[in-house]
Symmetry: C2
Subunit: 564 residues, 2 copies
């Protein structure tokens, strides 16, 4: 009898093929819905998502785990600052590892097509669950509703599908078998060769607190496609969206007849962390980490037994040399400082301007005037609390407030990180961008300050601004840089300088859309050439080591019967 | 004016395309000549190769290096046991690194096609130099002439070309640019995106003493294609073949107008080694290592800043369950023990037989009788000194003699490692296979004994033999395993057991050709799943991390001129 799993690959085949094409073209494409508009979703979808979220509050999350030794969880909504009151399985790491390993052989022995079909089906079910995911992400990560819906919904699903595509491409590159025929001396030889794709082992995916799905999905799906069982270890303050994704993946696996423990959850709290126990476990073969540069570096240095993929953070730069008009430029930068309170790894932080000023037409805008214009733009953008709420969301943790507090007395402050009043959640942990003036070089900005902090940095010249920005990118890490210039030769110098220091750059990005926006199937995210991470989302290098090839060869026709 | 480099890609295009197809099909293919027959080479080619080799003896090798601080080299021919008397540049590591880095930008900025063309031309010139390479390899590695010609010639060039193919495939996967068009809100956006392939940095390729070209060429060409400058660090007792290859590569690069320091040589001696200084240098971005498991593990553990590829060694097993006839099986195994004195990473070492005997037709061949038959086969194979010389070659180092000495008193010895008399070189360092009987498990065979040592190991049953062999492969490492059985279900169990422990296996390999033979474009060499190495020759994982992608995106049409 045909089971659902037999049809899933063919059901989703067209979407997969389109995604393969999109990765080759790298133009704009998505099969998922970015807008929460009621017209585009089944009636009541948003209400159902909200109802699902509200029903979780104060309740045990309906998920059992192998090696469960109790319950854990201490999430607090950045909007209400109330505990969510949800608890999750607390696990014994050895038992969880054993269960993950036990689930592997059947999953490994399934065909690539079967695994791809199951993964595509999981993605499809996650896509139908985007409202629930959006509310879960809002009240853990602190994202505004629109970002939680689109960025942690469609855009994250895109990245997951992209991870799947590259895994598929890498595995398709190896034929399952071959016949080898030649003569040695005069003697003909015929060997049948078989190439098996073997997973490395248990994969631990550590998701971050601010943007969990976007980075975790590519790792999750690349690992699943290549047959590695995955233990998802969410940030202790952002468990719910990942628990929901794990639940959906497990249900899908079970329905397909596989051991649900191919995907498991390892939740913890800050007070009782289990991350290092997972990372250093003898059975951990693959690690995907999103989080701080410091911990990422520790993993790269210490987890040498595992295949390690990191995406951490850096101090992203903006170089402003010239523009036709000032306002679109400062608006674009201001938006990057405001958007999700600059808690995105692509948010701008260090804005370099020449001491002689930014050329705008025939005039020069001095660093002071530029900073004033930026502050004015931020103020305009956030004047309406409702609009501020939509764009800024909430600060994910108290630690960000502490960062803002530490910098508040800096002598260069030109805009304080005043909170805005959230119209719906009066207790929301909010802040508007802190803007500080500085002169290059200064150690104060040569590090990431996670949260809404921007430095307007005066450099000796436009060339020096570019040099400082690109050198810092190479030395301290950066994920996305930006630059503005109407001079084609300076634009070329911008491209070269950032490429030379292993960092990506967006030039003259303006308009309504966020300059931070990073498109799956088109943008390569993180270069691996600077301290902001060693892996790229998503390229072949992200997937090719997640499986290995074991071959067997057998002489044919059976020589034992013909040679004597 | 067109220079040679402009035509090289098109000149070699057909060969490259064929190689791409061969890697996809993984059948038998080579564009190089395996036979030294005079009919297949220009008149006098062999004599010229010999003359080249002889002219090197006692002379400075004509190669200058940046950072040269003197001369070094202490090679001794395993055949004459006389010093070759050749010296090479001794280098200051910092200066060599600086020169390699200085050579990188121009090479990086050349197109992929240009780099591929130069690499194909280097391969072609190496292919025309196979006789010189053969004599150089004989008198350093100790290989017999035929192996030095074919194995270190055509077969190694195949592997180099294969490395090039995978690098080409991986780079081709990324379009150089793309146009990204979509609407954000109602606003159309058009971005021109550019994806640059950026090399990681200086690549150090450490070649081994016994089979230098076969492992070094894939790394050399994969690195060059992806624009990383390469420092070749040959084994101190096997410098000449690599110095020759470096010389040819440098000449080709210079002729193409590139800095010759894209490829450099770092020679040393056992007394004054520079390997660790190279490996731990801050500018070393990629390491390819062939050599001992111990040093390979040290590199994997300590060189965490670099991208590390290792191929080390293991104790390769043979499981003998049953056969139609005994003699072809023992002949095949005996040949593996004799061939190049088992100094190949694919040589068999641990031969497991059931205590109840090997089934041959209706009879059982006891372990004792099996060992006797194996010894008799070895004796037959090596009875003629001329034939022995052809098959065994010479022992590369005194250390192998020491190994044989340490094992000589083992109570299980059934065949001593007596030397054979080389008809041409009376002083040659030779040994015939030492054969020892043991019972499973025994730590004596659970490690690699580099050189001509075989253990006939009695296991409780055929199933136990397979279990011991495959478990040891997983735990102690193995590169190639072998098995013999006329029982299809046992053959299936063999494939599964070795796959389960991450190790490859050849089943029922018989006939005249060496069971050790590993074909580029067809066999995947090393799985990366056991301690015998972390990398495979050659697959996508071998190349995809050798470069990274840096992107830039620019808004078009120039928004600075349209927005105001």
């Amino acid at each position: 009898m045909a089971t659902p799993v037999d049809t899933w690959f063919s059901t989703h085949r067209a979407r997969l093929d389109q995604a393969v094409d999109a990765c080759a073209e790298r133009s704009a494409w998505t099969p998922f819905i970015e807008s929460p508009s009621g017209k585009l979703h089944p009636p009541g979808a948003k209400q159902q998502g909200l109802a699902w979220f509200e029903a979780r509050l104060g309740q045990p999350f309906p998920l059992a785990m192998p090696g469960e030794v109790g319950r854990t969880g201490a999430e607090v909504s950045p909007y209400t600052r109330e505990p969510l009151g949800i608890d999750y399985p607390a696990v014994d790491v050895d038992e969880l590892m054993a269960a993950a390993r036990a689930a592997m052989p059947t999953w490994r022995d399934a065909s690539v097509q079967t695994r791809l079909g199951v993964c595509m089906e999981i993605l499809d079910r996650l896509a139908k669950d985007v409202f629930a995911n959006a509310f879960a992400t809002m009240h853990t990560a602190g994202q505004g509703f629109m970002m939680a819906f689109a960025g942690s919904g469609a855009n994250s699903l895109d990245r997951g599908l992209e991870g799947l595509v590259y895994a598929y491409k890498a595995m398709r590159d190896i034929p399952p078998e071959a016949v080898f025929e030649r003569r040695f001396g005069g003697e003909p030889v015929r060997l049948r060769k078989r190439y098996r794709l073997i997973p490395r082992g248990v994969a631990v995916v550590i998701s971050c607190g601010s943007y969990p799905a976007w980075n975790a999905y590519p790792a999750l799906f690349a690992n699943l496609a290549t047959a590695n069982p995955v233990i998802v270890k969410p940030h202790p303050e952002c468990i719910l969206p990942m628990a929901r994704a794990v639940q959906i993946a497990r249900d899908t696996l079970s329905e397909a007849g596989f051991d649900a423990n191919v995907v498991t959850l390892a939740a913890d709290t800050r007070a009782n962390p289990i991350t290092k126990a997972l990372l250093l476990h003898e059975h951990t073969a693959i690690i995907d980490f999103t989080g701080s540069q410091r911990f990422g570096a520790w993993i790269e240095e210490n987890c040498t037994r595992a295949d390690v993929y990191t995406e951490t953070a850096g101090c992203n730069a903006v170089v402003v040399e010239s523009a036709v008009a000032l306002e679109p430029v400062v608006d674009a930068i201001a938006q990057s400082l405001c958007l999700f309170s600059a808690q995105m790894c692509t948010a701008a932080q260090n804005i370099f301007v020449p001491a002689s000023g930014v050329r705008v037409g025939d005039t020069r805008v001095s660093p002071a005037a530029f900073a004033d214009a930026l502050v004015a733009s931020v103020d305009r953008m956030l004047a309406e609390p409702k609009h501020a709420a939509g764009i800024c969301g909430a600060l994910q943790t108290d630690a960000i407030e502490a960062t803002l507090g530490r910098l508040a007395d800096h002598p260069g402050v030109v805009r304080a990180a005043t909170p805005y009043a959230h119209p719906q959640y009066p207790n929301a942990r909010t802040a508007t961008p802190l803007v500080i003036r500085a002169s290059a070089p200064d150690s104060v900005y040569q590090q990431e300050h996670f949260g809404p902090v921007g430095f307007v940095i005066e450099a000796e010249s436009a060339e020096a601004a570019l040099r400082h920005a690109s050198d810092d990118a190479g030395q301290f890490g950066s994920i996305a840089n930006y630059a503005y210039s109407v001079d084609p030769s300076f634009c070329a110098a911008i491209e070269d300088a950032f490429a030379e220091r292993g960092s990506s750059v967006g030039i003259n990005l303006l308009g309504q859309r966020p300059i931070n926006f990073t498109a799956a199937f088109s943008d390569f995210h993180v270069t691996g050439l600077n301290p902001a991470g060693n892996a790229c989302l998503t390229d072949l290098a992200f997937v090719t080591r997640r499986f290995r090839i074991v071959q067997s060869k057998t002489e044919e026709p059976c020589p034992a019967s013909t040679t004597s």
